[in-house]
Amino acid sequence: MREKVILMEKTVYLDNAATTRVDERVLEVMRPFFTQRYGNASSLHSLGLEAKQALEESRETIAKTLKAQPEEIVFTAGGSEADNLAVIGGALASRAPKKNRIIVSSIEHPAVYNAAEFLKRSGFDVIFLPVDSKAFVKMDELEKALTSETILVSVMHANNEVGTIEPISEIAALCKERGVLFHTDAVQSFTKAPLDLTKLPADLISFSAHKIHGPKGVGALFVRSSMRVQPLIYGGPHEHRLRAGTENVAGIVGFAEAARLAVGEAPNSTTKMRELRDALIKHVLEIDGAHLNGAAPESGARLCNNAHFRFDKIEGEALILRLDALGVCGSTGSACSSASLKPSRVLLSMGLSHVQAHGSLRLTLSRFNTREEIDFAGNCVEKVVKELREFSAIR
């Protein structure tokens, strides 16, 4: 065992659900917009027009990847802002007497979950939908919750922790049938799982650049042309009057390039990630007392880059810090690694106990990972789990 873990020269980065490395090609297209083409897209001079042109071309690129219209894309300062604009902006625009209910899943990203909590404090009737042990939203519960007073339903495309892909086509169709707005957070799934707006009747969809090898601080919200959203940031008439503020042109150009590259490299890149993920899962599940959380890989309802485990008798923060010392970056849902000292809400919603949630490990891949890295990471997990169990107080 020990000889299998020879330190790698480079860090093996397996926390791509947190953020990704910016692709060099993305950085290259962004670079001129800092020092040469730095105009404000609202200015009438040539530098301004150049910026405006780059902005609109980027909007077209993003729209094209979704088979949407360019005017349906609103750029934001990231996925969290897009989620807030969708949930709060969507709810405020549609609120009316006897139209007061918002439904979100209990495993949403905090950007949706806490926005829904805000709406609850503001007097909305908010329902948090339960999920099953694989993190799938319970459809019968959704049907029951969908009253005539419902304005908006928000269920994420793929979960950020365990990678479960929700049945959003089914949910969107149900919402459309009932005349209810449907929002989905596609931050994790964008370019990794199919999303075709000619087929999916969603009204609002959130995206982020830094999960797809683009820069941090840029995102987008798809807003179907037929619907109204109340802006959250007021100022100039930017972004179809839905989001004020001078556009982050360099970031937006980078976002569009990152999306273009990711779409262009799929399905080769997604197939590669899926194969590496499956190899990693197989390797890690050979460890005694190791379990997979979320949907089975063969179900097709698991994000191609997500592997999420829990280990008996050890705690996740210790696990990730020992992995880090060996050069492997991962993350955990253990309370000990969170500022609130509470274990992951997602894992608890799936019915895991506190102790089980403490022993969790998330490893998320990118198209840059190699088989060598995955084998190395698997060996490191095996080594660290064994070492920590040697002196665990849980026998």
């Binding site: 923060e317 210790a318 000990c336 002196f391």
Partner: protein, 154 residues
């Protein structure tokens, strides 16, 4: 080691803990923490001539829980029981070059674990237990049951 949430000393002991494991036939065992909170610690001692002759730990928990366990074994080894009982949570944190504030409460249980092991030794050996040691034992037990209740509510 590059950037770290913890001090260098914490990371050193977390990655290379001293006295990890179990003592067979110990003279006293102290168990503190609760796996529901993410930390469970067991301290084993062997006592000779009123001194801690041997000490080991078993810990389920985060890096700071492991580092504090290791530190308490180093601090207590060779000390008289009286001296060992005077080691506080603060001493452990200080020796480690400090702990992140959020970890001071939940993961800094090692001193309690040591005091419980000594209490257990006194009980097993049928030795008189002073009022001070008894009240320390009561305090630790009370904290543990309070934490259990807090978690049951969640």
């Amino acid at each position: 080691m590059a950037a770290s949430f913890y001090s260098k000393k914490v990371m050193d002991l977390f990655l290379h803990p001293h006295n990890a494991g179990e003592i067979e036939k110990p003279d006293g065992v102290g168990e503190v923490g609760n796996p529901i909170c993410g930390d469970l610690m067991r301290i084993f001692i062997k006592v000779k001539d009123d001194k801690i002759a041997e000490i080991k730990f078993q810990t389920f928990g985060c890096a700071s829980a492991i580092a504090t366990s290791s530190m308490i074994t180093d601090l207590a080894k060779g000390k008289t029981l009286e001296e060992a009982l005077r080691i506080t949570r603060g001493d452990v944190a200080d020796e480690l070059g400090g702990l992140p504030p959020i970890k001071m409460h939940c993961s800094n249980l090692a001193a309690d674990g040591l005091h419980e092991a000594i209490y257990d030794y006194y009980k097993r050996a049928g030795k008189p237990i002073s009022e001070k040691i008894e009240s320390e034992h009561q305090r630790i037990q009370k904290t543990a049951s309070h934490e259990r209740e807090e978690n049951a509510e969640q």
